[in-house]
Amino acid sequence: VKCQHYPPARALQASAALRRASDEHKKEPLTSSSQQHFDSPPAGHQPEQEPQGPHPSYTGQGGQESEDYESEEQLQHRILTAALEFVPEHGWTAEAIAEGAKTLGLSVAAAGMFHSDGSELILHFVSECNTKLSKLLEKEQKLVQLGEAEKKPIDEFLRNAVEARLRMLIPYIEKWPQALSVLLLPRNIPSSLNLLTSMIDDIWHYAGDQSTDFNWYTRRAVLTGIYNTTELVMMQDSSPGFEDTWRFLGNRVADAMTMSNTASQVQSTGEAVVQGLMGAAVTVSNAETSRAVT
């Protein structure tokens, strides 16, 4: 079973090794030696190459990289994605990353590439969830544009989008409070804030927000508040299917809609009052002028 995990990593290593060889004008028949590695994957030998192998060549000889050459970043992505499977059991820790590395046929030492508090794993997860949400919203938008679906009213759209995003946490809900505290570490705040704001901006964009004034900020601030509070409620929720959370979410979104309606009503009332006062002032001044004349 384990052999099936090896080939992809080996292939990449083999092609990378081939490229290094040709660049450095080595005469060794590397093709045959890597073939041997395919046939008999010794546990100890190959893995040692992995952590060191990618490193010297990532600055790329002459910047030439072909499609099957995996960058360090792509490798890290693969490891972290594989590690997610082990989070429910091990938490957002180096153990989970080590287990993930093992399933890819890499040494557990690969976990040493990352911080011990699991920051990168959590940020990777959040980033992946945001990307999934984006794709989902884009797909829905296409359906509406093709006329195959009804355009949802804003409150329903926001509710569905936030719910969809929060549902992605369900498999990891036990360990999510730990993740939240790590995301709030000063070191991680720029990244986690960036991810949060771009997710909220995405939701508003697909909701059809086209504001170009201060409303841009108000709307995003309100939605961020709704998202964060609902997330916290979800952590404490033990109702079946998180129905309490979704009800809370619905209420908060409804509050926001009411608030915005009230705000626009206040504004138009204010404008009407100002108009009335101006009219009164003009009338009084006309009356004064005519009295002065007579």
Binding site: P51, G112, M113, H115, L133, S134, N194, H205
Partner: protein, 192 residues
């Protein structure tokens, strides 16, 4: 590799629009939007004071053109998903106060303000054109828009001069002060 150095670039969920330099375009559209918004408010302030005077129609016409400019930048802002500057409410008030204040100095004062502001804006647009023209094909639409607007702002500048802007008392002091304010506004709006 030390544990803390993992250089993970978290992918933004934003779509890449044909490889344009998003941060640069962001700034350009944000500051231009703020500029047109401010210009609108300046003319509104001037009209509030001088609307019924002999220069009223002239100011109104220039204001109408600024409204068209603002509308265009509103569209571009949505198309490129650019965030507006936080300082918009401030430019709202400051613009109106500048317009009304300069108009209270008389017709020449209002024209002097127009000359100062339009000169700043023209120079600013020229700088942006210089930046964008390094890759004319990628930024074709934006370049076209900015060039056209720059020409119209230059026209406003000339109209201001025609209406005796330079005859304003303390013209050079006024002009310098206003242009300094414009530079500060541009600097801030690009960033916040």
């Amino acid at each position: 590799v030390p544990g803390g150095r993992a250089a993970l670039r978290l992918c933004s969920t934003r779509m890449e629009q044909e490889g344009i330099n998003k941060p640069v375009i962001d700034r350009i559209i944000r500051v231009d939007h703020a500029g047109e918004y401010g210009a609108n408010r300046i003319y509104a302030g001037q009209m509030a004071v001088l609307g019924r005077s002999s220069v009223g129609p002239v100011i109104q016409q220039m204001w109408n053109q600024e409204k068209v400019h603002l509308k265009k930048f509103n569209e571009l802002m949505v198309a490129y998903r650019v965030r507006p500057t936080v300082l918009l409410p401030f430019w709202n008030v400051a613009g109106f106060v500048l317009g009304a204040g300069s108009a209270l100095l008389g017709k020449k004062g209002a024209m002097a303000c127009t000359v100062a502001v339009e000169e700043s804006i023209s120079e600013h647009y020229n700088n942006q054109i210089r930046t964008l023209i390094e890759d004319p094909k990628k930024y074709k639409e934006l370049l076209q828009v900015i060039k056209q607007f720059r020409d119209e702002e230059q026209e406003h500048h000339d109209i201001g001069l025609e209406h005796d802007a330079e005859a304003t008392p303390a013209y050079s002091v006024l002009k310098t002060a206003i242009q300094l304010g414009c530079k500060a506004a541009i600097f801030l709006s690009e960033r916040i």
